[in-house]
């Protein structure tokens, strides 16, 4: 079937079977491999994307459900120069990245959080990340990276 939606800000039309999840639509039909497949049952968050601004597990969203809606993947998260955004830059500086497989999902979960709560508390950040598994980092530096972004956006700390 033909699915039309907005993907990373661009109108997109794709022909795909109706019975596949959004995850496979992105990876196999649109070649956007930044969205990772970790469990296919909505437990690990590696496939997180933004659907109308809400973070969802794309493995649980039937592809036809995105018809007419707005989808943002990690490929749509960029700074003004096309490089890392301030949040992505903070992930690098804070040591929030190890193997990197969970990183796109973590960044999308954090993006959704900061859009709603520009000044989240540390427990709020932890709650927002609790649907995303990371086996490498122990999460602390990921939370640190988000706090660093919050401080910088509030003008309390300048980027090095």
């Amino acid at each position: 079937m033909r699915i039309q939606f907005t993907l990373n800000g661009r109108p997109t039309t794709v022909d795909a079977p109706a019975d596949i999840p959004l995850l496979h639509l992105l990876r196999d039909y649109l070649e956007l491999t930044g969205t990772k497949c970790g469990c296919e049952i909505g437990e690990c968050g590696a496939c997180s994307v933004l659907l109308d601004g809400e973070v969802v597990n794309s493995c649980l969203v039937p592809a036809p459900q995105v018809e007419g809606r707005d989808v943002v993947t990690i490929e749509g998260i960029r700074g003004p120069d096309g490089g890392p955004s301030d949040l992505q830059e903070a992930f690098i500086e804070a040591g929030a990245v190890q193997c990197g497989f969970c990183t796109p999902g973590m960044i999308l979960a954090a993006t959704a959080l900061l859009a709603k709560h520009p000044q989240p508390s540390r427990p709020q950040i932890i709650e927002a990340l609790s649907g995303n598994l990371c086996r490498c980092t122990g999460y602390q530096q990921i939370v640190d990276a988000i706090e660093l972004t919050v401080r910088r956006r509030a003008g309390k700390e300048v980027q090095a």
């Binding site: 296919e40 990690i74 690098i92 497989f101 960044i107 609790s130 530096q141």
Partner: protein, 801 residues
């Protein structure tokens, strides 16, 4: 520290940009035109004879291009190290649920699945065994009757492992000093307890995958995210019957975690995909689903241990006797090696007059066990560090004070005869973690909690040592090349893998330090058997020590080449050239690095250096259980503070303080990340994680039932390092990645005891064990009062009883 230009300073991970942008491509992301999809037929039963296996019906399924069995390989695809007991595809017999039997390559996943269904498979089920104690009985069903006549390969130049293979005993590793039974009889205070730990799943977020591409010369190239490209290559050469020059293994630039888990299982994936590629003449991609990965891949071995430790009334430890049974599962894999590391570390980092350690590796039909971060040490330390706590209490001493009194210090001799001459920071770690955690105050305060309080706090400590690198397992060396690449940058070429732990950043930092050039001048490459030198496996936290030293030597040589070229340009002696970053000068004239590189290119002056570094040779006698197992050790201590809800059994870890002696901090954010990440895995090991084998069936093969810590499960973690430089480490560095999880679970267990007054000697300390002192699934098991009537139930699920 202040003498270093880049080491120990804030640094960016060299491969992080692609990861945060989502442009990093992992093996699971790879695609090629004309690529076929591979699927594996796996054993549905724990133990059976293959009576009939016919794959020809699969070939009639539309879209199926090939279907293979063990008959398509050399010697039925038999492989394995140190015990050659495994197969790329099962031969005559299957030994665990998930054992691979046949492989199909097809145009689509659906066609491959249909192909698997068409295969004719007839199995005759055999009696199976699911716990180590039952497996050692004379009447137990044998998993490897053919191995009863001992067979093994020597590991390197050590006399390692004359594999016994008597019945289901795959191996027996010992440590010996004096007469511990006599010494224990003479001790004022003795503890005599059993402990156990469960199978742990690696849970790397990227599942196993391999892309095999046939080459025009009849060979094959395999793109894979493994830990050791040369071992993958060696196994392919053996089982495919191809010469080494026709088998190339290229590591994917990004690997989604490993933790010891991307070895044996992924060698099999390589063997299966490579054979299908050779048969079909087309690229073949094999990717495991999460369930398939969790069912088929190897685990950390479950272990039951029995500790007897004795001390004088004044708290001086005298003797110990330790026996432990590791559940090797269906194949030996790394269990002979993990059992050896377990034996060496079983006594913990303490002084003893007499000791005897016996660790047994035992075949069962519970999946199979192999390498997992810590490699035997977490399994025994979960027991020994609780036993030490229990002994301290019996001596009436504070557990941290007791450890300080008995822990090994510089100049001490370890029970197996090794004198420690340098880099022993354990006492410093214990003292620092005591301060950081406010130990004395909290210890006293929580001891005064009213008896009826429902939410109870406790604080516990565990300390440990961990031998650096492979030790006496075998030859331990690495060779790195640093050569001029495009854009006037230097490529560091290594056969060691960065699967997230940060070794390529460590190498780049060391190259910058040794050459005096900026970090940005260095770029990394992934391992490739056609380009890299064999550096041995990326295991045992050996990358910084081995690869770091090789990098340092190569970078120093490269710098000399640059200086020599600069001297030609400056028309002076090389000895007169002064370097200031990228500027080289003499006699008032200077040239920039780019000018030197361009000159070198024009004049064909090589700017490429390589260096090999080998660990000092040591010797361990496997028959006497004495010698020098490791040249040096990592030391560390962790304190855990918990709150236990005595109404539910729920343990919340409030804070963990970790102080580790890693020799020298090279990459601070990376080292800290290794410790916190290790603690997360150790917290899971202590509280949550347990592969539930029921009659050999893994009943929790995805993240909805096998729970690993989330952000919400993690406490705040405070990390500090003690820098006790190792003379032959690169700039004094030892290691950090593997050891960090070793003390976490017992520190938490000791804190739970401090909070509740009840010991949970069996990991994970889940709700029912903390609340009831036993498992709900098998109410016969009694975990309290120092008696575990049927500890084996904890090893293999409720299984065969």
């Amino acid at each position: 520290m202040s003498t270093f230009k880049v080491l120990g300073k804030p640094a960016r991970r060299v491969d992080a940009v692609e990861k945060v942008l989502g442009t990093a491509r992992y093996t699971v992301d790879l695609k090629m035109p004309g690529m076929l999809v591979a699927k594996i037929l796996r054993s549905p039963v724990p133990h059976a004879e293959i009576v009939k296996l016919d794959v020809t019906p699969a070939l009639k399924v539309p879209g199926v291009a090939a279907a293979i069995t063990s008959e398509d390989y050399v010697d039925h695809s038999n492989w394995g190290f140190p015990v050659k007991d495994d197969y790329m595809l099962a031969y005559q017999r299957v030994r665990y649920v998930g054992d691979p039997i046949a492989a199909v390559a097809a145009e689509t996943e659906e066609a491959a699945e249909a192909g698997l269904k068409a295969i004719v498979l007839e199995l005759k089920e055999l009696p199976a065994v699911f716990d180590t104690q039952a497996a050692l009985r004379p009447d137990a069903p044998l998993l490897h009757p053919e191995l009863s006549q001992a067979e093994s390969e020597p590991a390197g130049d050590s006399e390692f492992i004359e594999v016994k293979a008597k019945g289901n005993l795959s191996d027996h590793l010992i440590v010996r000093q004096g007469d511990p039974l006599a010494a224990l009889a003479g001790c004022d205070v003795v503890i005599d307890e059993r402990y156990s730990v469960s199978h742990q799943e690696h849970a790397y977020l990227e599942t196993e995958a391999a892309l095999a591409v046939p080459t025009p010369d009849g060979g094959v190239t395999v793109y894979i995210g493994d830990q050791s490209p040369f071992i993958t290559q060696g196994n392919l050469v053996t089982t495919l019957g191809l010469p080494a020059e026709k088998v190339r293994v290229v590591q994917t630039r990004y690997i989604g975690g490993a933790f010891g888990g991307k070895s044996d299982m992924i060698y099999e994936c390589a063997g299966q995909a490579a054979k299908l590629a050779l048969v079909t003449g087309r690229p073949v991609k094999l990717t495991t689903s999460r369930e398939e990965s969790m069912i088929a891949s190897y685990k950390r071995d479950a272990m039951v241990s029995h500790f007897r430790i004795g001390a004088d009334r004044d708290g001086t430890i005298r003797a110990c006797k330790v026996e432990a049974w590791a559940d090797s599962g269906a194949y030996a894999s790394m269990t002979p090696f993990t059992s050896w590391r377990a034996a060496i570390h079983a006594m913990g980092p303490y002084r003893y007059n007499a000791c005897a350690v016996d660790v047994y590796g035992v075949y069962t039909n519970n999946g199979y066990s192999g390498a997992f971060r810590g490699f035997g040490n977490p399994e025994v330390t979960a027991g020994s560090e609780q036993a030490i706590d229990e002994l301290a209490e019996k001596c009436g001493m504070d557990p941290l004070e007791f450890r300080l009194k008995n822990c090994i210090k510089l100049g001490d001799t370890l029970p197996y005869g090794q004198k420690l001459e340098e880099s022993v920071g354990l006492e410093a770690c214990l003292r620092r973690v005591r301060e950081l955690s406010d130990w004395d105050r909290k210890r006293a305060e929580y001891a005064r909690q009213p008896a009826g309080r429902e939410r109870r706090r406790g604080i516990g400590v565990a300390c440990f040592f961990h031998g650096c690198s492979l030790g006496a397992e075998g030859v331990d060396d690495a060779t790195h090349i640093i050569r001029l690449g495009p854009a006037n940058r230097f490529q560091i070429i290594s056969g060691l893998t960065d699967y997230g732990q940060g070794s390529r950043t460590v190498f780049a930092l060391i190259a910058a330090e040794a050459s005096g050039l900026p970090l940005e001048r260095f770029e990394w490459s992934a391992g490739d058997t056609d380009v890299s030198k064999d550096c041995g496996p990326t295991v045992a936290s050996r990358s910084t020590l081995l690869g770091g030293n090789a990098t340092r030597l190569a970078a120093e040589r490269l710098r000399q080449q640059i200086v020599n070229a600069a001297a030609l340009l400056l028309r002076c002696d090389a000895g007169a050239v002064q370097q200031d970053g990228e500027t080289f000068s003499a006699g008032g004239r200077s040239v920039a690095l780019d000018e030197i590189i361009n000159f070198a290119r024009e004049m064909n002056v090589p700017l490429s250096a390589s260096a090999r570094w080998q660990m000092p040779k040591i010797h361990w006698s496997f028959t006497e259980g004495r010698g020098v197992p490791y040249v040096a050790y990592h030391f560390g201590a962790q304190v855990a503070e918990v709150e236990v809800d005595t109404r539910t059994g729920k343990t919340r870890v409030l804070h963990i303080w970790a102080v580790h002696d890693i020799g020298r901090v090279v990459f601070p954010e990376g080292a800290k990340g290794q410790v916190i990440g290790g603690i997360a895995q150790g917290l899971g090991y202590g509280l949550l994680e347990r592969v539930e084998f029921q009659n050999g069936y893994n009943t929790n093969p995805n993240f909805d039932t096998y729970l690993i810590p989330t952000a919400a499960d993690m406490p705040a973690v405070t990390v500090e390092f003690v820098e006790n430089p190792l003379s032959f480490g690169p700039y004094g560095a030892k290691n950090v990645a593997e050891p960090s999880l070793v003390p976490t679970a017992p520190a938490i267990a000791n804190a739970i005891y401090h909070a509740t007054g009840r010991r949970v000697r069996h990991m994970p300390a889940n709700l029912e064990r903390v609340l009831l002192g036993r498992d709900l699934v098998d109410s016969v098991v009694t975990y309290q009062d120092g008696v575990c009537e049927r500890a084996r139930c904890d090893v293999g699920g409720a299984a065969d009883t």
